[in-house]
Amino acid sequence: MHITVKTFAQTRELSGEDNISLDLEPDATIDTVIKHLTARGSHWELALSGSILSARNHQLCDKQTVLNDGDEVAFFPPVTGG
């Protein structure tokens, strides 16, 4: 299946990529995506380390969340609006 990955703020700056297409095995989770991305190099390991948040289709979700074909996944640091 096919998903899109977006990154924001420090996660975007550290990874150097903000819009990625990934082909994943069925039953892939957010964790699967993290494994795929960190395999790309240490800049991705750094970008996804610490208390990073994830969202699936614009909703915050945890690392065990199972993905579907066409999902938009996002990674970003804790928010600092307000």
């Binding site: 977006k6 924001f8 614009h58 909703q59 970003f76 804790p78 600092t80 609006g81 307000g82």
Partner: protein
């Protein structure tokens, strides 16, 4: 979507006067004579951080998710505090010192619900709406770190109820 709520993400400045009036007219449409209290919060860019003076901030957000997350929060506030109306506006992009950043408003039959709801909206916004703040001075800029006090404020609402 409820009829008595609004949530906006925008570059442009906002008028607190117009937002207050909008909130009140939404509350009147929902329950004329049923609102006894309106609480509003306006956030402004301060000219300093813990390291010294700054020139302003730059707000990044997640287009597509920000609006939804803010609207969801406003609807949660209405349900949780039995509000007659609620609204929130957050600006994005580059904002200079003393400019308006954010506005939230809550209308309720009684004052404690209106105070609690406005406080809830601000505390939770700082936890669940995908906005990130960078402070800049001249050419240099630095991401703002989350504050432990903000996490604690949000946890308080998540633990109760």
């Amino acid at each position: 979507m409820s009829v008595n709520v609004f949530a906006l993400i925008q570059n442009e400045d906002f008028s607190h006067a117009q937002l207050h009036s909008q909130l009140q007219s939404y509350a009147n449409a929902y329950s004329l004579g049923g609102t006894g209290a309106i609480v509003t919060f306006t956030g402004l860019v301060r000219d300093f951080n813990s390291q010294g003076d700054i020139d302003g901030i730059e707000l990044e957000h997640y287009p597509g998710m920000t609006d939804k997350a803010l609207m969801l929060l406003v609807e949660q506030a209405v349900a949780r505090f039995s509000l007659t109306a609620a609204g929130a506006v957050h600006r994005i992009g580059r904002l200079y010192n003393n400019e308006q950043i954010v506005w939230v408003g809550a209308a309720a039959p009684h004052r404690q619900a209106a105070f609690d709801a406005a406080c809830f909206l601000m505390d939770m916004l700082k936890q669940s709406v995908p906005l990130w703040k960078k402070e800049f001075k001249g050419e240099r800029s630095q991401w703002v770190e989350t504050k432990a006090s903000d996490d604690k404020a949000a946890l308080k609402w998540m633990a109760s109820k």
